[in-house]
Symmetry: D2
Subunit: 357 residues, 4 copies
């Protein structure tokens, strides 16, 4: 395709479950062309079709023939790099790519809480991208590291954004029921989860508790600020393929009624310049009308996996409100979120000179 | 069996899911003999083997040949009556049996919140049985109505009893993940729950919120008192056969550490004279040691379904403690609980004269 | 939409599970416009949005406002009528509609085995439609009854069509693993199927055994002929949402090798004038390359539910071949199949004069 | 326990899923005392409680403190050795133990098809143990290797034994629906099996096809003979925890009716001296009366997992009979089968001198 002037992009950790989701979502992308896939030494040198044990649907043909590269900026040349690397590997690799002038869109936890790194959900805190100036100055690189949050934190953040904006969160109780795809592949053994609930996901509660205040914080005077509310999180794994369900109970500074909250959610469209991006859903957040929704199997595909659905919005017996939120953990909560982050960077001209070729 | 001097007992609503659990648990019971089964007009007159579509394991032979009776005290003569009736039918029927001098052990919600009706979990509030005197006086009957609580409330109450006794609950957040057997049979359609979560169970949250303070309340000066803590409950259905998993976050008047709580739970044995009853488990409450427990499929059978297992006991980010509790919803949370209630009444000599034959 | 010159169509039994699938598939159909919905007396007179408890995804807006009609040709005026009625009701109703000059596309078993009624899978036996002349003469009506086969028989027939055409089936062993959606809604109770297999589906084996020889039979000298092979079928229900998996072992008159069979399947495109119909998939039958496919969750959506996927094609230890086939039971095996049948009738000009308006 | 005169036994591969089942079943065994556990180098030297990630229920206390040994006869001294080793490791290890005079009860496939090795299901072919004389002579060891068959083959063999004995099998079609526990732990990823069927299990079909004729063969003139029937097998994985369901269609030399078959099954008790062994169920084979049984979740526990349940016995459209069989794959089909094999050896005095201490 000699005329293809789409931006070449690469995926690090392309053979794993999140890496495969990137491959699927990039297939047919109007702005980005999957030019390179990279993975661990074990896979490097093989074709992607050979190296990746494909999990969901069909492998796009364009990916099949790519040769898997090692994860270093000398081998991988694309200006935009999506990282699906494990936290164990992500740190130095992502840093090396940023130092080499690339825009790194990372799913790993390593840099999420750094003061000069955006923890980005475009509709929620697209303004946080402004911190990239400080990042580039401080780190002395022309590239960038932009992270997307933990999958359960993402679902909660999108659901709460209009409420926090309107009423200012004070205290928040989060209990999650998370899909098995959140654990990657092979991930959760079937003997552990069939007909079962596992009330533990390593480090998940900590991530939810620390990421939410940063996600819903602001960008003020050249700094990212953390929102002042407290979070208590309990995380559970359930026998669901895709879709994290999140039970929320919250108090707010300006005590909304359920009707106040309903209006705030229905009117909310999120940060303005996100609308119309290739991966942006028509609505980032919808309110279910059926009293028994949202449900993962029935609502996870909303907005091609990029829309969070909330329901059961009602007053709480102890706090102000309770509600249930549901979002696609590997799309909105991982690869799709990263993609949207990259699209927003492109729209805002935030790629470095090298990155725009 | 002419020498069988076990007390004859009857089951109302014997063909349904909870009724069948009564039949299973009464099979081989050392004190009680299943003498009568009763159900709706549709089943009356048929043999139990013919009328009941048996759900779990094998129907006990002794039950198979019983003729299903209509649900009235003229047809059903046993002094002890276990009621698995739907709330829609339970009210007048249970009242008629009590008025006829029978001890009615009810699973229905109808009388649970009445001031003179025990809402009983023997190990937790066995002293509440003392209200029966007042009930008999006020209602002018020699029988009795003793209720057992909602299944999810039961699990939470057993888990919290030692903590409330030691530290006095202040605020409590409950989020449940409940098994499909809680909805009876046919109950939840498979198309609704396979690979899914349903964040709604009709009336469940209200029951949990109002029953817990009564369950953990006291019997003082001839009256049942309600505990002073507030409860917020969110109830979900998950693709689990048996076993309700309950996430709890709580604050207490005497702010316990996780270690304080651990000690309180490990030392707790519940009301003393319950130990040794036929349906009493060796321990009503155990603390799991594995960090990913309790789990419904792995822990639901503990104490033959009568033991509640708690785990993940840790300090909470906002309140004092959080923990996860798991109990068998149709055994401890329904038929097994009723059975234990009846056993305690027998031990305490609380059957009326008619009821002791 | 005054310019809408699409053919008006009606659905009988529109509120049930198959009826809802019709509603979904007709949404945006290029040739047909959903003009009327009909259901039992209980629903008649209410809006569809009110009468139907919607199961999957979102109810199309156009359907929501339709008033549910009673199932008789005086109330329902559309020339094309899709019947999702239960067998208990379908017989006289479908006949009345045919007698009133309508084309009835039926999912019910009632007329399937009648000698003058097509049991139609367009790509497999589109020529069977020629029997409609005889049907109209014999029954004295200007309408038509065209049936689509049992869902499991459909999957097997599509998979076997190229092999029967090329090698002539002799003996066939069928063992199915069928999705719960095949039982409608509420259908299979979750307590029956979670973590379970039910080795029994009422009447299913008989349907598979008698329908397959008619499906793969011919239209010769003005009569439908039955293929001469024998069928043994065993039907099982498994905990799958959509997609019947069918294990096949077969002998043929012209003993094919697995390679012969592979070629026959890969070259087969089915009856020629079906290609390009709105509901026709690009390929009615595809051969999976991965050795562990087809799988219901991963392959059921192939061809928007209209493609059957086969795999594991290999020689058999006793007969000639064995293979596994997978198809969408409520799309290809029910509503989608009916739709394609109607489309083929339109293309061939087989609607009566009344039906073409 | 100084007076414990039970035979000391060891488990090789004790930390895996089958190894754990051995540990569970040996807990409280009246004849055998779990004296030693052995596993790979990685685990050797650690306590069992530390090395084994326990999967089901609770680890028996007696096992917890045992030090894991390496898998060689110098380190492991017990006269009876249960092997749960993978086929990749089992060959030389099991041979070394037999050479060292131990009775090796193996679950691995390595020696199953050797002419001088019993492939044993006591009730079915207990007489095959007589081949041990030849084995000891030929191999020059005083120990023994006795294997138990593939789990699905076991279920089929028990179900078919009375029919083959009475009517002589001719042709047999087997289609299995197998539980995830058959794949060990972690085994089948939940993303592969939730709401899904996988129509492929590596090598399983070959094992079923070759083991069944040996299992149902005879011991004649000092040799094991293979039964003369042909077998076609198709193996599927389903979302079931425990219990392989097997659909069978068969022809026989003496063409039985379904009633003939029913009688044969009901009268069959299997090899006489197996009755009363500690692990022998009251009945090795029972015929379900309900038309929709057997079902894995409801029947797998029959005879504490040692009874095979058959149902749906009916005449076949092509052959003589079809039926469905269900058995516990990790109990009857693995560890429980091995245990029963060892018990039969003890009863028959087939342990070597060293082995009887």
């Amino acid at each position: 395709m000699p005329n293809d002037d789409r931006l070449p992009v690469a995926i690090l950790g392309a053979t794993g479950a999140v890496g495969q989701t990137f491959v699927r979502l990039l297939d047919g992308h109007p702005w980005f062309r999957l030019a390179e896939v990279a993975a661990s030494e074990r896979s490097a040198g093989r074709t992607y079709g050979d190296a990746a044990r494909w999990i969901e649907g069909r492998m796009p043909d364009a990916a099949r023939a790519l040769t898997v590269q090692p994860c270093d900026p000398a081998s991988v040349r694309s200006p935009i790099v999506f990282s699906a690397l494990d936290a164990a590997a992500a740190g130095p690799v992502e840093e090396a790519f940023a130092r080499a002038g690339r825009a790194v869109l990372s799913n790993a936890k390593n840099f999420r809480m750094d003061a000069d790194v955006p923890l980005l959900i475009p509709e929620v805190n697209g303004d946080h991208l402004a911190i990239l100036d400080a990042q580039r100055r401080a780190r002395g690189w022309s590239g960038a590291i932009v992270t997307n949050p933990n999958c359960a934190a993402t679902v909660a953040a999108v659901a709460l954004a209009p409420l926090h904006e309107a009423f200012t969160l004070d205290r928040l109780f989060v209990v999650t029921m998370q899909a098995v795809s959140g654990a990657g592949y092979p991930g959760v053994p079937s003997l552990d989860i069939l007909g079962n609930v596992i009330p533990y996901i390593g480090e998940e509660e900590e991530k939810i508790e620390r990421e939410l205040p940063k996600l819903l914080g602001g960008y003020v005077d050249g700094r990212l600020t953390t929102a002042g509310f407290g979070v208590s999180a309990q995380a559970n794994r359930v026998a669901v393929e895709h879709g994290h369900t999140v039970c929320l109970a919250a108090s707010f500074e300006r005590r909304p009624t359920a009707d106040d909250a309903r209006r705030a959610i229905e009117q909310w469209r999120g940060v303005a310049d996100v609308a119309g991006l290739p991966s942006a859903p028509q609505r980032p957040l919808v309110l279910a009308t059926d009293d028994a929704r949202p449900q993962p199997r029935r609502d996870v595909g909303e907005g091609r996996g990029m829309t969070v659905t909330v329901g059961r919005l009602r007053s709480d017996a102890l706090l102000d409100l309770r509600l249930v939120a549901l979002g696609h953990n590997t799309v909105r909560g991982a690869a799709g979120g990263s993609l949207l982050n990259a699209e927003l960077m492109v729209r805002r001209g935030l790629l470095g000179a090298e990155q725009r070729r």
